[in-house]
């Protein structure tokens, strides 16, 4: 599988990364280099193998469905690039 310029643009849009048109050919080449190298996994016979999501020793633990944290909006907002009162500020999304 080889990426065309339109796919590079589509992936960048999905990833919410702005890509200048001039960068597309270089990115396309780099990504295709990596993906071409990854193709070697097609040699492996994975018939009947269950996928492994992680190496954790045990199943994820359960806990009571209760509030365990929170109640400090100032700490949460302390690193906000822009805030208005107790809210994160973003450009208008509804006119």
């Amino acid at each position: 599988m080889s990426l065309d310029p339109a796919t590079v643009r589509r992936i960048a849009a999905l990833a919410r990364l702005h890509v200048d048109e001039a960068e597309v050919p270089r990115l396309q080449e780099e990504l295709n280099g990596i993906l071409g190298w990854i193709e070697q996994l097609n040699e492996v016979d994975v018939t009947g193998i269950e996928p492994l999501a992680g190496a954790a020793a045990n199943a994820l633990p359960m806990r009571a469905d209760v509030v365990t944290d929170g109640g400090y909006p100032e700490a949460v907002l302390a690193n906000a690039p822009e805030r208005i009162g107790a809210f994160f500020a973003v450009p208008n999304v509804v006119e």
């Binding site: 702005h18 890509v19 190496a55 020793a57």
Partner: protein
Amino acid sequence: MSLTDLTIAAAADGLRRGDFTARALTEAHLAVIAAENPRLNAFITVTEAAALARADAADRALAAGTARPLAGIPLAIKDLFCTEGVRTTAGSRILGNFIPPYESTVTRRLLDDGAVFLGKANLDEFAMGSSNMTSAFGPVANPHRRRQDPDAVLVPGGSSGGSAAAVAAGLAMGATGTDTGGSIRQPAAFCGIVGIKPSYGRCSRWGVVAFASSLDHPGPVARTVEDCAILLGSMAGHDPRDSTSADVPVPDYRAACRRGVKGLRIGVPREYRAEGMAGEIEALWARGVARLREAGAEVVDVSLPHTKYGLATYYIIAPAEASSNLARYDGVRFGFRAAGRGDLRELYEHSRAEGFGAEVRRRILIGTYVLSAGYYDAYYLRAQKVRALIKRDFDEVFRGVDALLTPTAPSAAFAQGEKMDDPVTMYLNDVFTVPADLAGVPAMSVPAGRDADGLPLGLQVIGRSFDEATVFAVGAALEGMG
């Protein structure tokens, strides 16, 4: 001997004997930082005042007889661990001004044990790299130099390059690192120090800036195997705030260092004998085998058949998880925001494009692609199946041996700017370290010799899951070869 040459074990004894104060020990390290950091760039942030205040508190505890095990020991903290009130950048412009309102579990445990934090160590951006060249705060210099070419500035390895360089050059007695594909072990090997990536779940990931959550392993680097044992003993332990943290007892690793290897069976995996392996690395490996045999271990050839697929598997899974974890950097809640950009979507796209460096953007794009509709099965699901086969290789081989011995990296440290031609060449650095991350088994790099240029080389000891104790025993038996 200068205070900055001491091991952690010797310094802890010296503090208790009253040979020197914690303040003197911290001041000695701050003086080396002031002299050497402009050249090495191992620290992004130095917290001098806080370090001295902690040292004074350690002196009071020592005088009162209430000192904890790491009281007054000066450490560097990889700038991927959130530290309350102290800027934590992950080596990225996008977190350039981020001040965490909380402390990571691992650093909290070290503080509770009395450690002094000197500052935050440089790293590859978001821990993505093997050279420390991708940091937004500039590259780190390896304190070692080539005998034949002393002007070349060598990389310290990565991603924990600042941690390893700081410890190797006496700017800190030990440091925290993280290892996702080799980021503790490869820089330890390049800088001639010891580093251990413990089992997955041994050290909490809570408060560590996430790269690839199923692969991220916090762990220590230090100048001796015993010092790593002391640090890991403090860092390890169950944490309910990390759902993958293991609720298993932490043994006495320091005692394990003195256990010896008599009667142990050590496997030498033939697949690590990569084609074109440098003769010096092969000879180093043979010397390690001889050393363990002399110490009473039995060494046998073993096979890990899927080793060669480890790197490609890693370069699907790690970017996939990274693309998800790094979605949180949106220019809204914390971190960098691009100036003057139209609507919300443009704000996201420009903040991320300007805030992330080239390697991070590349991995986000790869990860997004392999998870996208139509490609998920072909790439991501297949990689998860190959990961299961790699783990099965380890499970099977550990039925017959207690630990494995391999080289840590395919070469000694290279120069800044080398291996930068294409991403895959850089990725090949991690060929021997990645499988242990995929399987979650503990692995240590121990300095074991020098190449013809006088540069350090490391050997890797891999153990059974949650059997770091045997890894420490084998590592201690190898120590002092070089």
